[in-house]
Symmetry: C2
Subunit: 359 residues, 2 copies
């Protein structure tokens, strides 16, 4: 994929140049606890080692790595956030250990290979932003053969869900279309132009916007109404870009209560397990599953059905999921979802396709 | 100025590709009435003539031009909106008169020079978006020597104003900073990292965001508390890009009531006057001044003072205004404002500089 660097900066990197945005991540306690514990409960991994932090942002992971005893930390960051990271490193008296390097991971040169690559590369529903590509690049170029990845594993999950969100979106869509129809009438009456030929394309546009776009949401665990399924497993030590270009999965889910099936929810988790030669003493998990007390800034990605479907305990759902990168912007994903629904008597009662706009 | 086309599309043109955005403009009755009346009350300008519509969007101005009797209309548009414009032209049975051309105005070739250039190129506070550059280009390349510009003239206005907006923004800023201070405390306590060195840069960032960014607002006429001044006049037939790169003005304003001076408001108007040889029969004005019943989607651009200043009827304000294009994005503007304030006894009581982020 050839990417225009200027466009990528305008669309993607620019937000990371703001402390405000870095702070949002630094305030995510679930995220912070996971990386903090992964590092400090496995200090022996870091002691005396060379570490590469891919996308250091404010520098937090580099600082923890240094505090855990790393000999040297290379902290690479594409945006001007490096200036703040450097100040922070100095204020915490780690300037002899941490070298903050401004540049794209793909472009920088390090003076040595490293023992550990640490990175917080996960986007919404894991793969949004496609930043894992840069981690793979860093690994293949700069990690020693017996090096360790932090995190070492990642998984994507999906489950059926219920929510009032779909009703809301449907209302919004209907308001927009009613408004359009008055607009068409008014434009004919006052300005002598018949706009009705644009009703179909406007309708398509609004449907995409309101109904066919997946949504960020922090779900209550009780909104999950069927068994969750793992749809993708990634070994960060061995995965190639090819392995994450597309994610396809056909999976079953059993409905666990009598309710409305409003859509599917997706989330991810990552694990810090070290590697075969240096397994983690304390394995840490970072999960973004629906949770009462441990919500994250990632929330869950919600794919809505319009309209919802009545389901009962014991009913079976067969879901086919397919995600690929948007051709216009490789950091965004397009999703196609199909499902078959069998009520407890095992006859098909419903089948539908959902296509979503890039998110 | 050299502009990366890809970035310009990502940042600027992309929104115009949506019918939703075109509709917002098509629903602005003040805007629509002005162009409609300008065209149909001056039909003799259009009769049998060749017209160029720079940035035709949905095609509305091209369609009106054709309905008013134009022989040929070239409707140039950079985005895929051309597909909808073409459909609309056909549905209104004008496909023999209007030629919709997809491309940047700077790149397209027309088969002839034109008698009239019509365009709705005005951005917030007139010059945002810098689209007038493309109109100038079109004029110099494609308008006949005795051709007419629609609109023919434009002016920028400023006046002192009062508003509760500044208090709100100040509250938001204070909330953000209080939140930052707890964040710094928590990060030290729970994660062993001292973030206090970033307090100053974070504060700068938040000040810029909340206090030093000008705002869109539809003001009530009574919020204007002093005499308005014209800070720029543009003759669309003769202005060069150089003439609009910077706008500088020192102007006085007399306070007309006892109140708080909270900032300055900027707006614009344009006129459709034809040219010397073909003056408009009915001169039409499109103004975006504060208005009870005739607000526009442009609203006014508000530059806030922090804190506000107590003023009285008869006091004099001397304002220095300077606007130039942002180096990072030529379609956005940076503004510097300074003012001196004399109370009725004519001694200086206050002077301040305001610098705003690109808007
Ligand atoms: N290819 C690349 N090269 C360098 N930096 C990159 C990159 N891709 C993404 N980044 C940076 O990676 C960061 C991801 S956000 C994580 C920031 C920090 N490590 C933390 O955990 O708080 C962003 O600051 C982004 O600008
Ligand atoms: N240099 C350029 N070449 C072609 N189109 C341009 C352009 N600069 C701006 N535009 C287009 O000009 C339009 C301005 S908005 C006005 C649309 C329409 N004339 C109306 O009055 O409703 C947008 O659709 C934008 O995409």
């Amino acid at each position: 994929v050839s990417v225009d660097k200027g466009v990528d900066f305008a669309n993607y990197f620019c937000t990371y140049g703001f402390l405000y945005h870095q702070k949002e991540m630094l305030c995510d306690r679930v995220r912070m606890d996971a990386y903090y514990n992964a590092i400090f409960q496995n200090k022996e991994h870091f002691h005396g080692k060379a570490v590469l932090d891919v996308g250091t942002g404010s520098g937090i992971l580099a600082i923890w790595s240094a505090q855990a005893g790393a000999r040297k930390v290379y902290a690479v960051e594409a945006t001007k956030m490096t200036e703040h990271a450097r100040e922070l490193v100095k204020a915490n008296n780690l300037q002899d250990v941490i070298e903050v390097i401004e540049g794209s991971m793909e472009d920088v040169t390090l003076p040595e290979k490293v023992d550990i690559i640490i990175s917080e590369w996960m986007g919404y529903f894991l793969l949004r932003e496609s930043m894992f590509d840069s981690v793979i690049f860093a690994r293949d170029r700069w990690l020693k053969p017996d090096g360790i990845m932090y995190p070492s594993h990642a998984r994507m999950w999906m489950a059926p869900m219920r929510s009032g969100l779909g009703d809301q979106k449907m209302d919004d869509y209907e308001v927009a279309m009613n408004d359009w129809h008055s607009f068409v009438d008014d434009t004919k009456t006052y300005y002598g132009v018949d706009m009705s030929v644009l009703t179909k394309p406007f309708d398509d546009e609004q449907k995409k916007y309101y109904l066919q776009t997946s949504l960020w949401n922090n779900l209550h665990p009780q909104q999950i109404i069927g068994t969750p399924a793992i749809i993708k497993e990634i070994n960060c030590l061995t995965a190639s870009v090819n392995d994450v270009l597309n994610v396809s999965s056909n999976f079953p889910s059993s409905i666990t209560e009598r309710t409305r099936l409003c859509g599917l929810a997706g989330w991810f988790d990552v694990h810090f397990r070290g590697n075969r030669d240096y397994p983690a003493k304390h394995e840490i998990e970072l999960t973004t599953a629906p949770s009462l007390d441990n919500g994250t800034h990632w929330g869950q990605q919600v794919f809505l059905l319009h309209p919802p479907v009545r389901v009962s305990e014991g009913d079976d759902l067969m879901v086919s999921f397919s995600m690929s990168r948007s051709k216009e912007n490789h950091r965004l994903m397009e999703v196609e979802l199909g499902y078959k629904y069998f009520d407890s008597t095992l006859k098909t009662v419903f089948a539908e396709e959902i296509t979503t706009e890039p998110v």
